[in-house]
């Protein structure tokens, strides 16, 4: 049985998150749920994979987050000729000091946008694996820690798949969420035109949360209480994906851990010191969908992974009182 845990100061997390949300919403119009997911990823040190068509605000979102946190931002535009060293950095010989020095690559930033990640070769894609999982890079046998906080936002285009390299399962598993920004509504699009008419609001976007405060908030999020039955519920969902008839490859323990951490962050965002099954259900599709591999027949029938996840959620009992 868990020890009695004191109430987490979720109000502090909620206030910071509201400031961030309001600040980012000045440039990312109308996609509040998606921005909220991005905040969840920030709070539990996860990474985002945004799959969307061009021009929907993926870069704007990444930059807005970085500016709101007063953090460094770097962008990596993936092309087939991008090398791993272009990402992680290189050791070069400094003639002045007659020694090898490490020149950090664009990965060395708090918020890194990897644009069109599926255009990079698998070799370059795999150079991101260590940084995403362990928050460090190894260059010429030297391990360099990445700055904290560290958020990697990767994008990929669901159309124009010619000449691309689909991300391997090992890499997909390291993204906390896969989200879609989608097109804004009619009113939202009109508002974007109005806001961006005279100037780019991103230029005047200030920071509302410091990086150090974010690190503290990340630690606080881990203290959010998860009841044993809710934990078992998360495990039951993950196990259900492994034996579901339409799924070839189910969720890994990393996925269930990701779901658990994300649920803690979401509970904190909703000013609650404990996780409830609704949090788990809300996050199940964004966390699990990209980690699951559907069977060929299922894909051919046109059934979406999100739909399969919903079917699994409808089949797993929620831990609630039973009536006779």
């Amino acid at each position: 049985m868990d020890k009695v845990t004191p109430e987490v100061d979720v109000r502090r997390i909620k206030e910071a998150a509201d400031r961030l949300l309001d600040n980012v919403s000045q440039v990312v119009v109308g996609r509040r749920e998606t921005v909220e997911l991005a905040l969840v990823a920030l709070l539990c040190e996860g990474h985002l994979l945004i799959e969307d068509v061009p021009g929907t605000g993926k870069t704007v979102l990444a930059k807005a987050l970085a500016r709101s946190l007063n953090c460094s931002f770097k962008r990596i535009q993936c092309t087939p000729d991008l090398l791993p060293s272009d990402v992680t950095g290189i050791h070069y010989f400094n003639q002045k000091t007659s020694s090898f020095e490490y020149r950090p690559g664009p990965i060395m930033a708090n918020v890194v946008l990897v644009d069109e990640i599926n255009r990079a070769t698998p070799r370059t894609q795999s150079s991101l694996l260590e940084s995403m999982q362990e928050h460090q890079v190894t260059v010429d046998l030297e391990t360099v820690a990445l700055p904290r906080p560290f958020l990697l936002i990767a994008t990929q285009n669901p159309v124009e798949l010619e000449g691309t390299f689909p991300l391997p399962e090992a890499q997909l598993d390291r993204f906390l969420f896969r989200i879609h920004l989608g097109y804004p509504t009619e009113d939202g699009e009109a508002l974007i035109l109005a806001r961006f008419q005279k100037e780019n609001p991103l230029d005047s976007l200030g920071s509302v949360v410091e990086a150090s405060e974010l690190i503290e908030l990340q630690k606080l999020c881990r203290q959010v209480y998860i009841e044993e039955s809710v934990r078992r519920y998360i495990v039951a969902i993950a196990r259900a994906t492994r034996s579901y008839e339409h799924i070839e490859l189910g969720a890994s323990p990393r996925a269930s851990l990701a779901l658990s951490l994300a649920a803690q962050a979401l509970a904190a965002l909703r000013e609650r010191g404990f996780v409830i099954p609704d949090d788990v259900k809300y996050l199940a599709a964004p966390v699990l969908a990209h980690r699951l591999v559907a069977r060929t027949q299922t894909r051919l029938r046109g059934q979406s992974i999100e739909g399969i996840v919903q079917e699994i959620l409808d089949s797993v009992p929620v831990p609630v009182e039973n009536t006779k």
């Binding site: 845990t5 004191p6 259900a240 409830i276 409808d314 009992p317 929620v318």
Partner: protein
């Protein structure tokens, strides 16, 4: 409860099923105790009359206790009419003799088992069952349970009839009617719900489960028939006689300690033999006549059989509930063949059953002291269970995959007047159930008030259209 006319057919089918096994049982008792004195078919009218009366009374906006009282007053009136019609048909309605005859029949109850008593007892049982049916929503679960129970009762009734050399009139048509109505009821309710605990991927298994249940009941019935024969019955009866003799000796011992009463003039009691009239027919309060003993023996067999039946039903219901939970959890998933898993599950089930019965006996003998619940957790959870049960009774059963807030949205969408109170109860429950132990006790007074307000809300019964999702 207001009847939903759209589900009249399931009501009729379930009533028919109940009527069949009740008819067989009452006919057996009637033939064994007062053969040919009463018309069981006429008595069976009490079942539909009770149903209709309860349904009509359900339309009244009055407290449930008052409606119940009126219902039982109606029973008394119906029984008087039936007694008059069946046993005192020759006398006019205006004559008082038939009323006196009924009263006299009760006075002579220890001398002879009277048909009036049988009619009243059977009538009360029929009335109660009719009331229960009118207040229940006939779903798939009820139809299956009635089929299970009725089948077991029929088997034991015919077995008892065979052992006692008594015939049950119309056994074959009654049995055929029972099966037809039961299977129709199961099919109709299952089709209406479209969902249920055997929905989705396990639709094809429902027949197997039903057949397994029927087979289990029949197998146990045949086992009883094979093992229990007149010799065994005689041994059991000898044992009971010995026990009865022991009790009589103890009572006689205590009676001997009392001072002898002074001889006095006893008031004349009609219907009883006077003192000194007839040697062997002298009324002795501590012994019964052979005729009465024979009838008591029959009733005792039926009572013991009924208790066995209840135990059997309880065990099979628990087995089926266990199967339900397993199936709902798996939902068509492939099961990893872990070695020893089935044996472990079975042992766990048997332990649960054994400790359940043992706990029941020990719990009765040594009732545990209720533990104080300072955190109010048990109270909040109990209230929420009651809310779920109340909603389920109105046709709004929580799906297994529904969270409390989703259930609130579902019920609130159907009945917005429930939202204020249900929100409070749900929020309390969620905090207690999923929050840390130090979350603080719930506001018990407020919870009670909210629950009382919620209970008074008249929910419209859920329509026929299923929601297409698995229900708990």
């Amino acid at each position: 409860m207001q009847l939903d006319k759209r589900i009249l057919l399931p009501y009729l089918l379930v009533m028919g099923v109940e009527g069949c096994w009740l008819y067989a049982l009452i006919m057996l008792i009637s033939e064994g105790t007062v053969p040919g004195r009463i018309s069981v078919l006429g008595l069976m009218l009490a079942l539909p009359l009770s149903f209709l009366t309860t349904a009509l009374l359900g339309k009244m906006r009055s407290p449930k206790a008052l409606r119940r009282m009126l219902g039982w007053l109606a029973w008394a009136a119906v029984m008087l009419i039936m007694l008059k019609a069946q046993l005192y048909g020759a006398q006019g309605w205006g004559e008082r003799e038939w009323l006196a005859g009924i009263g006299g029949a009760f006075a002579g109850i220890f001398a002879e088992f009277q048909p009036e008593l049988l009619m009243l007892m059977a009538g009360a049982a029929l009335w109660g069952l009719g009331q229960r049916l009118a207040e229940t929503r006939p779903g798939f679960t009820l139809a299956v349970a009635e089929f299970q129970f009725g089948l077991a009762v029929l088997v034991l009734t015919f077995f008892s009839a065979a052992q006692l050399n008594t015939s049950v009139a119309g056994a074959v048509p009654v049995t055929l009617t029972f099966f037809i109505l039961a299977l129709l009821g199961v099919a109709v309710t299952h089709a209406r719900e479209g969902t249920g605990w055997l929905a989705g991927r396990h639709r094809s298994h429902w027949s197997l489960l039903l057949v397994a249940t029927v087979g289990l009941v029949l197998a146990l019935g045949w086992a009883i028939v094979a093992l229990v024969n007149p010799n065994v019955l005689a041994v059991v009866l000898e044992g009971l006689k010995w026990l009865w003799g022991l009790i009589m000796k103890v009572l006689a011992f205590f009676a001997s300690l009392l001072p002898e009463p002074e001889p006095g003039q006893l008031p004349a009691v009609t219907g009883l033999p006077g003192p000194g009239e007839g040697g062997e027919d002298t009324f002795n309060p501590f012994t019964f006549s052979e005729e009465v003993r024979e009838r008591i023996r029959i009733i005792w067999i039926v009572v013991v059989s009924g208790l066995l039946l209840l135990a059997l039903w309880r065990v099979s219901s628990q087995i089926i509930a266990w199967l339900r939970r397993r199936l709902a959890g798996m939902s068509g998933a492939e099961v990893e063949p872990l070695s020893g898993a089935f044996r472990a599950d079975l042992l766990r089930l048997l332990k649960f059953l054994a400790y359940g019965w043992l706990g029941l006996i020990i719990g009765r003998l040594f009732p545990p002291k209720p533990k104080p619940d300072p955190s109010g957790v048990a109270f909040a959870r109990q209230i929420y269970r009651q809310v779920l049960g109340w909603a389920a009774g109105k046709g709004y059963r929580r799906r297994l995959s529904q969270t409390p807030h989703e259930f609130l949205d579902m019920l609130g969408g159907a009945a917005p007047e429930t939202v204020p109170d249900l929100s409070v109860i749900t929020d309390h429950y969620v905090r207690i159930r999923y929050g840390p132990p130090a979350a603080g006790p719930p506001d018990e007074g407020r919870l009670k008030l909210n629950w009382q307000t919620l209970r008074k809300i008249r929910l419209k019964s859920r329509g026929d259209s299923p929601d297409g999702q698995g229900n708990a």
